[in-house]
Symmetry: C2
Subunit: 218 residues, 2 copies
DNA sequence: GTCTATACTCAGATAGAC
DNA sequence: GTCTATCTGAGTATAGAC
């Protein structure tokens, strides 16, 4: 109708309070059911082709029924990712973590929709107000922390240089995994786990090598 | 109005013909202007907060006026990325390419919206029908090709193993660059170019090393 | 070829009844 | 806790003026 109004998009786009719903047993169960179904349908059809109304219908709920449990669509999407992380928790020592890591990467190959959702949410997280921003911040911090703990288990007293190098390599590994999956989305022939394994092997060689070099220098 | 219809989302979502518009000088100029303005506003505010109507208004055009030049919003978004690639074309030999590469990564640090757009389109490209799918396919192929050409300039007769290793490392480099930028979107303190430089240095060392090893084995 | 006006459909959000 | 009804704004499609 009116054409002039252009600059009113600065509204409160994302709610602040979060998930105080589901306090009763039934609500908790329904909430979990919605997440499960949403995870499946978004994973299969991608989040762009899927409306909340569709998800609601699959849950035998109305749109408002779904919205009762989540602050917004974006919030729901992020909760899906959180649920996946809970499923894919990485634990154990150095070597076991790497194996688990590669195993997860392999499994991701069966869920392109989820990977696409992950990537999309990462892009959305540029906006610090977006619920994905907090999620990714926590996620990266958590992973870096877990990795460092396992590192200290096998090398209790690393030099500053060694520790710094390890941190850079952890970040690099994460980055490469994300990037390879991004390429894989476009071209499914890209071997995510395989390429990743080459890199991890290279890191091991390099860390051993620099240790030798240090010994040789003495 | 009607509630029942849920499964009619399988319509023709993306047009097929492309950009036969702009045949006249004026049209060509306007098309370029739209892209420039869209690049700026999407780059600054991100594509999620920006509607085509807003872009149109900034171009002193109606929404339909913009749509005259592009098949869809998604098409426009991809054209923005194509335009950026034209600006950032990588040329020259081995070393110069790496410098240029790092330089571009540095410049991307000033355009988070564009990086976010890139990542979002990558996610959208899971759908082979989406205009971004063709874009990324071409982009990756082109970059891999350029890199390989420069590799042959300095090493005209590599062994199969060397060439294969080089290809994997090129892909890995691309992946890491994408992944680091993804992390940087979430946490701007991540040093994309710096971390990337460490990896590139590591590759150089590794390639030199394996050459020595081969010589030692003989 | 360039562009406007208008109408259409669908999305997510919200208010209030039950 | 869930629904119906309604709102706003998005992208899209078409007819036709210049």
């Amino acid at each position: 109708m009116v054409v002039g109004l252009v600059n009113d998009s600065e509204k409160c786009r994302y709610s602040i309070n979060m998930a105080t719903r589901g306090s009763y047993a039934k609500g908790i169960a329904k909430r979990a059911e919605i997440l499960d179904i949403a995870l499946e349908v978004f994973g299969k059809e991608g989040y762009r082709g899927t409306s909340l109304r569709k998800v609601a219908h699959l849950c035998n709920l109305s749109l408002a029924g779904v919205m009762h449990y989540f602050d917004s669509k974006e919030d729901l999407l992020v909760q899906i990712l959180r649920k996946r992380d809970l499923r894919d928790e990485v634990t154990g020592d150095d070597v076991k973590q790497q194996d688990k890591f590669l195993e997860i990467l392999g499994r991701n190959g069966e869920e392109p929709g989820l990977v696409a959702l992950y990537v999309t949410m990462a892009a959305a997280a540029v906006d610090p107000e977006h619920p994905a921003a907090a999620y990714f911040k926590e996620r990266y911090e958590h992973i870096l922390e877990i990795a460092e703990e396992s590192y200290f288990q096998t090398r209790p007293t690393p030099s500053d240089e060694e520790l710094s190098y390890f941190r850079i390599m952890t970040r690099s590994s994460l980055a490469m995994a994300d990037g390879l999956q991004l390429q894989w989305l476009v071209d499914p022939s890209v071997d995510v786990a395989g390429t990743m394994a080459v890199f991890l092997e290279q890191i091991r060689t390099f860390m051993a090598m620099s240790a030798e070099q240090r010994n040789a220098d003495q």
